[in-house]
């Protein structure tokens, strides 16, 4: 039962990733694309944690923590660049 639920969650987050990718390609504005990439990072974190639960290892939690930090920093840098056309002044 738990393995079936794991596969269902993995499937829905993977489908979500594809939808975000569609928004990245389609997105009418830069802001939409940045938001979609940020959502892709969050969905990827969920997938990493689910994969760790599926395999019963704890290695993927550190990986997902680092991915979360890098994703946040890069989103802030993108938004900063849209706002000021400069990142570090």
């Amino acid at each position: 039962m738990m393995v079936a639920a794991l596969y269902l969650a993995i499937g829905s987050f993977a489908l979500g990733l594809l939808m975000n990718l569609w928004r990245v390609v389609q997105g009418p504005d830069v802001g939409d694309r940045v938001l979609a990439v940020d959502t892709m990072v969050i969905n990827a974190i969920a997938l990493l944690v689910l994969y760790g639960v599926l395999n019963g290892t704890a290695v993927y939690f550190e990986v997902s923590l680092i991915v979360a930090m890098v994703g946040f920093i890069s989103t802030v840098a993108f938004a900063r660049f849209m706002l000021r056309s400069n990142i570090i002044e």
């Binding site: 738990m2 794991l6 979500g16 504005d29 974190i45 689910l50 989103t75």
Partner: protein, 127 residues
């Protein structure tokens, strides 16, 4: 694991998957950028939170120990999601809303986005 323990973990996993999917559908289906901000920042963050709760419970039930890595990740995500949303909304106002269309701030100071625009223009001249 007992059957009821598996049922609790499976419940959290299913709820988390549905929330993540709803967030991504919202990112696709909603009509304009500011409404699109709602899907990922709320629903998807909650979905990841559910995954992390399921992970904590799975470790607790199968190995009998409480792990705090997941709580660290969910704390970080719940702290950063509003900041990200605020930054993207600011960038949208800066790029697409005319300064005259913004409501008055009521403090005498202009909107932070406008003062940013002035500084950016001054920077362009000197650069």
């Amino acid at each position: 694991m007992e059957i009821w323990q598996e049922a609790i973990v499976a419940f959290f996993l299913v709820v988390a998957g549905l929330f993540g999917l709803v967030g991504s559908i919202g990112l696709i289906k909603l009509p304009d950028p500011m409404t699109r901000l709602h899907g990922p920042t709320k629903a998807t963050t909650l979905g990841v939170g559910g995954v992390l709760i399921a992970s904590v419970l799975a470790t607790l039930f199968s190995e009998g120990r409480l792990s705090f890595h997941e709580l660290l990740i969910s704390l970080f995500l719940f702290l950063t999601a509003p900041i990200t949303a605020n930054f993207i909304a600011k960038a949208h106002i800066h790029r697409h809303v005319a300064p005259d269309d913004l409501p008055p701030t009521g403090t005498g100071a202009p909107w932070a986005v406008q003062s940013d625009a002035k500084i950016a223009k001054a920077g362009d001249k000197t650069a």
